[in-house]
Amino acid sequence: MNPDILHGLAQASLPTSLLSTAIGALLGLIVGMIPGMTISSGIIIVLPLTFVLDPSISIALLLGLYVGGMMGGSFSAILLNIPGTPSASATLVDGHPMALRGEAGKALGVSITAGFAGGMFSFLCLYLIAPSLADIALRFRAPDLFSLVFFGLTVICGFAARSLVKGLLSAAIGLLIVTVGQDPMMGTARFTFGNADMLGGIHFLTAMIGLFAVPQLVDNLRPALGNRGPAQKQARFGSLLPRPAELKRMLRPVSIGSLTGAFLGILPGVGGPIAAFIAYDYTRRTSNNPDDYGKGVLEGVAAPESANNAVTGGALIPMMTLGIPGDPVTAILIGALLVHGLAPGPLLFMERADFAYTVIFSFFWANIFNLIIALAGLRLLVKLLALPKAALMPAIAIFCVIGSYALRNSFFDVQVMFAFGLLGLAMRWVGMPVVPLLLALVLGAQLEEHLRVALTASQGDISVFFTSPFSLLFLCLSAVSIIWPFVSARRRRLAQSGQP
């Protein structure tokens, strides 16, 4: 066997890594479960620790949190009819009716086992596809890499926004912010206004903390959400593990969900909610009893839960092999690795293959611990749904400050974090998504560097982007992702006007 694989497995299986994965999974289940908290909140809490921990331990912690957060969202969806995370929105359609019928335990058990199956399927995809994709990506030259990053940004803008213009504007603002600081090729100071703090540029982790946490703090002040965490329904769960007959019924929806989630997870920007709804819809349409869906069938829980958990492994594939994050969480994972001098991308598999496999096997352990903790601790975990916001939210606010300060021991970063929080609120006010901005912050420097390297090498000849087959393919895909929202909107309008 490849020694890097064995080394990665050994590193991910060290007691410290396993403990870190388990803590991450527990924290992820908690933050995913509590409405108003998100996986990003959990990451903000542990972010300062990742700066001082060993990279393999940091990544184990973050992966545990990512996987746990995806699953935790379904608990409140089933018990309270409030999805803990957006990815769990499809789960409540059938999960909550099951809980109302007194089958909360069965719904939670199906959610946990289906989520585990989806997660393990995506682990296999990650393990099998990532190294091969990295091999292909190693052949990419600067024009191909520019077009690939450009494609990633256009897909994100198309999927993340109701209005493509607003999605692209959000990305343009992100790219503008990236240019603050030293020019990546010549070191010229750009847009720093003589401020020494700005020479280092805006760190996207501080931007991320502000963009996600500050609007969340404001959201949780709304009286509609209540001043206490939603009261926990004292449901009697009974047995959580599905019976053999129920497992047999889950087979088809879990297969559909896992395939859908892993495939859509690979596409940047698609994310858990879309995958979960597509899997749910396809399972319902291909079912013998489609009318039962929405009334509380276990297939309606199994399909979206396997899909949104399969998205996690799928999203790690482009992150690790191409350096392109699929969602905010994988963007943060990239940031956490960059802090340790490890740049995700094809070179990671060539230069630090042992570490790449550590990440892959940490993801495997994250799924295992997630299952164990969810099954063993569910009865205790759901009691946290009653945690008062008066205790949670101030802690989140202080964690924001600690996280942004600890990054470079700089008050400037704390101020930047708050400024991005205000920007996030302003963007929400105009209905502009923040995800394209965040991902532009992650990808912008690469985009500029590949563009300038390609143009310098070709002496300013832009045909270089159209003569390389890879580059041409990515540019065509970019054009499709830009045009597609207009085509689908037109089709929707035509369909609506055709209705009586």
Binding site: L49, V218, A391, P394, I398, I402, G421, V430, E448, L451
Partner: protein
């Protein structure tokens, strides 16, 4: 939303123009056909201006005379929370993490509905102290040390 689009588009147009102007002040490379430090900012300025114009057109087309709804400042508590946060950031470098965080935590707990005095006092003092000990002593992470504070961070 149309009015908000117009406001956003006008703001971004102004930003795009200012950004484009600042980009013209950046040095060029000696070989004019090769991209220098200003090349990428130029592209972004053009993109930003074009998209802002697009948003402006969308806003003007969809504009209806509706009462101006500012949306965000709909609740005084949201503004209070942001002001408290801003005050905390001002106080932090001067007072240090512990001293600055205690009134901030107390104020935030009150804003999120905490009314029990014992809970407020214990939480406001306990939370920053716990975090200080956890991060500084257990994880070795430096927290802000105030220039006026004798207790430090």
């Amino acid at each position: 939303m149309a009015l908000r689009n117009i406001v956003a588009a006008a703001t971004l147009l102004a930003l795009g123009i200012a950004y484009g102007y600042l980009a013209t002040q950046l040095p060029e490379r000696s070989q004019s056909n090769l991209p220098g430090p200003a090349f990428f900012p130029y592209l972004i300025a053009v993109l930003l201006l074009a998209l802002s114009l697009g948003l402006l057109v969308q806003g003007v087309r969809g504009y209806r005379r509706l009462p101006l709804d500012l949306g965000l400042p709909e609740r005084a508590s949201a503004i209070l929370a942001l002001l408290l946060f801003a005050a905390y950031l001002v106080a932090l470098p001067r007072l240090g993490f512990l001293i600055a965080s205690i009134p901030f935590a107390g104020g935030m707990m009150w804003l999120y509905g905490g009314r029990n005095p014992l809970f407020l006092v214990a939480g406001a003092a306990g939370l920053p102290l716990f975090l200080l000990l956890l991060f500084r002593e257990v994880f070795g992470i430096l927290l802000p040390h105030g220039s006026w504070s004798v207790l430090g961070g």
